[in-house]
């Protein structure tokens, strides 16, 4: 924690504001933006193609959406290089979100038992 006020941290902060660093960031954001646009076109394309099974369309569309979500969260929201505290908050969120989804699927799989009781 003390490294926040150290000379190396100060150098890092100055680098954070440099033009070179800024240009690098902008290049990354533009590439990610184009990837997201392409991903959107792919999502629509994947939904219109007949793969013989509707489940394949659903899986593919959700896979592309998840990849796009990763790009937004990772690069635009800077999650690929965030502080541990934020990862801790998000790990709790992920746990409760997955628990919510598990309960949803559990209630569907055991619907009869729930209804009988």
């Amino acid at each position: 924690m003390s490294d926040l006020h150290s000379p190396s941290a100060a150098a890092g902060a100055a680098d954070d504001h440099s033009i070179e660093q800024g240009r690098k960031r902008i290049r990354t954001y533009l590439i990610v933006g184009v990837a997201l646009m392409c991903g959107t076109v792919m999502t629509v394309w994947a939904s219109l193609i007949n793969f013989g099974s509707r489940e394949i369309n659903i899986a593919l569309a959700l896979f592309i959406a998840s990849t796009k979500g990763f790009l937004v969260a990772g690069f635009f929201m800077h999650l690929i290089s965030e502080k541990k505290m934020i990862y801790a908050v998000l790990s709790f969120t992920t746990f409760f979100f997955l628990a919510l989804m598990y309960l949803t699927l559990f209630s569907m799989a055991h619907g009869n038992i729930v209804h009988i009781r």
Partner: protein
């Protein structure tokens, strides 16, 4: 009294307070939308075969709105990166585009909502169902005019069209109508979910746009007094905006495509 850790990171968290605050808020938002998504999964999977609508929404409008939100997310980060380089005018330009994108998104959404409120399912005495968009200018006390089609059964209506509009005009004498209802949230489970999910999302767009506008306009003088603090505010509002984009990235395929 100065608010502590508005700019400098707290030693114990490594973050300035607003950033930790927005992430905690976003965590609660994940659970809010997660609850609605789980409701969607439950209702969708338990729907009877052929009873769930398909292609009821205009994919091309939805896709345009997806592009608009992605583009706005790019302009938000470009604005923030400009501030990091001390380029305030560039930030104003990019964030101005973000605000225009927010208005465009809401404009397209309102066109889609209007389309659903003008879309009617009309049950006739002979057992047929007329389905189409109301033509208010041509509708009279004696005749209802729709641009649409006749269907023999309710199941036939579940499959929409990829090409919206351009359907034939049909005239229905009012004395032949048994019942009629538009495609509002009350129409069926799908429209209820559609309006709830997209309505809540649109409220987030409005909220995010108001905050971004406030920082961009009335609060812009903070840049002169404390540039670091101002940049942090832009970052925090940007994190919220990206979250709104993230939610739409999942809403679009779930509601429009699947």
């Amino acid at each position: 009294m100065e608010i502590p850790y508005a700019v400098k990171p707290r030693p114990d968290t490594g973050l300035y307070n607003a950033k930790l605050g927005i992430w905690l808020f976003l965590a609660s938002e994940v659970m809010l939308f997660g609850g609605l998504f789980s409701s969607y999964i439950l209702l969708r999977v338990n729907a009877e075969e052929g009873a769930w609508p398909h292609h009821w929404l205009n994919i091309w409008l939805g896709m345009t709105n997806t592009f608009v939100l992605i583009f706005s997310s790019v302009t938000v980060v470009l604005g923030w990166a400009s501030l990091k380089m001390g380029q305030f005018k560039r930030y104003k330009f990019f964030q101005g585009i973000t605000l225009l994108c927010a208005l465009t998104f809401l404009g397209i959404k309102s066109v889609e909502y209007r389309d659903k409120f003008m879309h009617y399912e009309v049950h006739l005495k002979d057992g047929r169902i007329a389905d189409g968009h109301l033509q208010p200018a041509e509708t009279t006390d004696k005749t209802l005019v729709l641009e649409g089609r006749f269907a023999a059964s309710h199941a036939e209506l579940m499959e929409g069209s990829l090409h919206h509009g351009g359907e034939p005009v049909i005239e229905i004498p009012r004395d032949q109508i048994v019942s009629m209802e538009n495609y509002g949230p009350w129409h069926n489970t799908y429209t209820a979910l559609y309006f709830t999910l997209t309505g809540l999302h649109a409220l987030h767009v409005v909220g995010g746009a108001i905050v971004i506008f406030a920082i961009w306009g009335p609060l812009a003088k903070v840049w002169e007094q404390d540039p670091e603090r101002y940049t942090n505010r832009v970052e925090v509002s940007g994190l919220f905006w990206h979250f709104v984009d993230l939610i739409w990235i999942f809403l679009f395929p779930v509601l429009y495509l699947l």
